[in-house]
């Protein structure tokens, strides 16, 4: 099946094409060089912008914590019922709804409407991996993948505490990546979730776990080394210590320093950029952190922008979520210690523009976006749903691209917060090309997805077409056309078809001698056999299995 998109303007930063007027052609789900051959279908685009499908490298879309959030947030579900599309009635299943925690189908549909075709779940617990994959299999229209949470699991903390050689750590990480069908390694509050199980209520970078005497720094550097040596393309995806605590800017700066030049991705950096200046002992440290990020090319970040309104926060960081449960709105929350593995906390939250802290959080996120200079090292996220639902992305894009709009929004916020931010003086406006970098080209590159995020021949035909509109929020709210693997799934902002996605996983080489140790560990402590913990390929995507990226290790 050959499809041709005519008369569009191609925005493909990976291939240095900035709104180049040319046709785009794809055959059987892959982009090909334009030909003169007869196409099975042609779409006249009238100058619309053509980009690779969007890639979100950090959005909580699957796993037990999302189901806990759904259970807790029935209000959200009732307020956003099924979007029943008359053009597809009878054959269509966009079942479920919700905004802060949409259902699997609603997640796939809403993302597709925005022009996104690939989304990564950034916090899959090994213990919950099977469930997370079952859920991802039910997300239509998106390719997915998941980062495995490590660093709070008792196995690795014991290994580190006992001084196990790095090779053994690497073997464990390699085994876990395979067993849980994961794409990268995430660390959440390194060692802190575990420390909470021993009743520690906080754990800073150089504080020792009360049981293992292992510091977060040690966990971090050990795992950075592991993924580097295993050749996992995405660096450690780090949710640092002290999330949300004023004064965590020092921890964040120290964390960057701790990498000693090795690659590290700091996720939802906004929540880790808080100073303690001013009467309220809460201030923006965005400028100094952005400066450090600019000076360290080994660091990449995503923002975790706060967007005003009702949402729910869901995190493996039970320690932090327990601390924040008093701020829950509505006033209820769930916390869970999980399987010698990690934990989770679900706390409903409403970010209010008249609230000093919330307004400043909003400003800090935007300051980071605008002060971090290299668009290839910063990614557009709200840490969905923690900072706000992903459906707010078009609004966020306008905030980045339109200074007048941004300043007009700023003027409506809590007055004290306005006085605490430099945002109003920042003149930078993102270009369309930079937005394409943040949302497609750069995520593909940092994830090591060679055939995604661009439109050169050989690329996956995940393509989003948007009509030009000076109102960038309107422009990005509804894609004109979206193709998934070459199949038309969205027309004029409405889902017209459901395409099955795939799930990306990485495989590394590792020393299988670790299996004996793991068998014993699972039998004696976890109470579940390692072989039952492990997922087979056939358990992914309804038996279709994963899309595997084989890693070449050896670097250190």
């Amino acid at each position: 099946m050959r499809i041709r998109l005519r008369g569009g303007r191609v925005l493909d930063p990976a291939n240095r094409e900035n709104a180049v007027a040319r046709d785009v052609e794809f055959v059987d789900g892959r982009v090909v060089a334009p030909t003169g051959e007869r196409a099975d279908a042609e779409y006249e685009l009238g100058g619309a912008i053509v980009m690779a499908g969007g890639i979100d490298l950090h959005s909580h879309i699957a796993g037990g914590k999302m189901n806990l959030a759904r259970l807790l947030m029935q209000e959200d579900r009732r307020a956003y019922p099924e979007k029943i599309l008359p053009q597809m009635s009878g054959s269509f299943c966009g079942c479920g709804g919700g905004r802060a925690v949409p259902t699997a189908h609603a997640t796939g549909c809403r993302y597709a409407e925005l022009g996104y075709t690939t989304v990564f779940e950034p916090a899959m617990l090994g213990a919950n991996a099977r469930a997370a994959h079952l859920e991802m299999a039910d997300i239509p229209n998106l390719d997915t993948g998941a980062y495995l949470v490590l660093g709070n699991d008792d196995f690795i903390l014991r290994q580190i505490a006992q001084g196990a050689p790095q090779e053994e750590i690497n073997a464990y990480v390699g085994w876990m990546l395979k067993a849980t069908q994961a794409f990268a390694i995430k660390i959440v509050n390194p060692g802190g979730i575990n420390a909470f199980k021993f009743n520690a209520r906080k754990l800073d970078l150089d504080e020792a776990n009360p049981h293992y005497e292992v510091t977060p720094r040690k966990v971090l550097t050990t795992l950075i080394r592991a993924v580097t040596e295993l050749g996992v393309p995405h660096p450690i995806h780090l949710h640092g210590c002290n999330l949300g605590v004023p004064g965590n800017d020092e921890t964040t700066l120290a964390t960057i320093a701790a990498t000693e030049g090795r690659r590290l991705h700091l996720t939802h950096l906004q929540f880790h950029s808080y100073g303690t200046e001013g009467d309220r002992r809460f201030s923006s440290a965005a400028a100094r952190i952005a400066e450090m990020v600019n000076a360290n090319p080994n660091i990449s970040v995503d923002v975790g922008q706060v967007m005003f309104g009702q949402t729910v926060t869901a995190s493996a960081d039970y320690m932090s979520q327990y601390r924040n449960r008093g701020l829950a709105n509505p006033k209820k929350s769930i916390g869970m210690d999980i399987e010698l593995d990690a934990g989770c906390g679900v706390v409903p939250f409403e970010y209010r523009d008249k609230n000093f802290v919330n307004a400043l959080q909003w400003a800090i996120g935007l300051e980071l976006f605008l002060l971090v200079e290299d668009p290839w090292r910063i990614f557009l996220t709200t840490d969905h749903p923690n900072g706000g639902p992903f459906t707010t992305y078009p609004h966020l894009i306008r905030l980045l691209m339109d200074r007048d709009f941004r300043n007009a929004q700023l003027a409506t916020l809590n007055k004290t917060a306005q006085a605490h931010t430099l945002l109003g003086q920042i003149t930078r406006e993102y270009s369309l090309e930079e937005i394409a970098i943040l949302t497609r080209a750069a995520p593909a590159r940092i994830l090591g997805l060679a055939d995604k995020g661009h439109l050169a021949p050989g690329a996956v035909a995940d393509i989003a077409v948007h009509d030009e509109n000076a109102d960038r929020e309107a422009m990005f709210s509804k894609a004109k056309l979206v193709f998934k693997d070459g199949r038309l799934i969205v027309r004029d902002g409405e889902v017209v078809d459901l395409a099955p996605g795939t799930t990306h996983v990485v495989r590394t080489e590792f020393d299988t001698a670790i299996e004996g140790k793991l068998d014993a560990w699972f039998d004696r402590t976890v109470g579940l056999k390692a072989k039952h913990f492990r997922l087979s390929d056939g358990e992914l995507r309804g038996g279709r299995g994963p899309t595997v990226l084989n890693c070449v290790g050896g670097a250190s």
Binding site: Q74, E75, P330, K332
Partner: protein, 264 residues
């Protein structure tokens, strides 16, 4: 425009009328009202399939010929008046915020669940959990008045946190379980296990109910509040009458609760 809906035949499956309020029907032609999609059993059907629709008097919705499967009547009502000549099913007046819902027959479970204001008058009996928290919600009725002519089922006032529930007849077992605040006044009798987990709130009773463990009897007192309520709250005038003293029992003390039962 206001509307009279006459049920054509007894319902074969549950029908959900939530959101069908005078405000929602305002400005709609009769044909548009007939075309409204309503959840019926496992399907969605046009309103006109089940109801004969005609124009009615100003400012209100009248439903003629109720049915025990007619759910969600007056749910979400914020202003105006809904009058039902007959029975209603579950969730009548759920989340009602204002206006008046008047029902001549009986109501199913969870009448007035999560109600925040306005008034419900039910001539007949109510089902379980009058004024309780709707499924998944934290708290029950927060405001307004529910006046029930007949009796109410189990767990009336469960998690109630405000407003007044007035029951002319009896209430079932476990009334006021985990009640947070508000008033449940019962002219008839309470069932067993009343008041378990009460945090605050007041039960007005004519005889000492069968209370859950954890109530302290503080004795009989001259309570000015009785005289005040009898005069200020017309719905309570008949029940309290000229009583000036009441026996006051406080609980659930097992949870540090300070709810009260006033017996007069």
């Amino acid at each position: 425009m206001s509307v009279v809906l006459r049920l054509k035949a007894p319902l074969a499956a549950r029908l959900d009328l939530e959101g069908v309020t005078p405000a929602a029907l305002a400005g709609k032609a009769l044909a548009e009202v007939e075309a409204l999609a309503l959840p019926h059993g496992g399907r969605s059907v046009p309103l006109g399939e089940l109801f004969a629709v005609r124009a009615g008097g100003e400012g209100r919705l009248v439903i003629e010929g109720g049915d025990a499967r007619l759910d969600g009547v007056g749910a979400g009502l914020a202003a105006g008046e809904i009058v039902v000549e007959g029975d209603v099913g579950a969730h009548a007046g759920r989340g009602l915020a204002g206006g008046l819902l008047r029902i001549s027959g009986n109501a199913g479970d969870e009448l007035a669940a999560g109600m925040t204001g306005g008034r419900i008058e039910l001539a007949g009996d109510a089902g379980a959990r009058v004024g309780a928290a709707p499924s998944g919600a934290r708290r029950g009725m927060a405001g307004g008045v529910v006046a029930i002519g007949g009796s109410a089922g189990i767990r009336a006032g469960e998690r109630q946190r405000g407003g007044l529930i007035l029951v002319g007849g009896d209430v079932g077992d476990e009334a006021a379980t985990d009640m947070i605040a508000g008033t449940l006044a019962v002219a008839g009798r309470f069932g067993t296990g009343t008041g378990r987990g009460m945090k605050r709130g007041t039960l007005l009773a004519r005889a000492v109910p069968d209370l859950a463990e954890g109530f302290a009897d503080t004795g009989t007192h001259d309570l000015v509040a009785l005289r005040l309520m009898a005069r200020r709250v017309p719905d309570l005038a008949a029940l309290i009458g000229s009583a000036v003293t009441a026996r006051r029992l406080v609980g659930d003390r097992l949870q540090g609760g300070l709810g009260e039962v006033l017996v007069f």
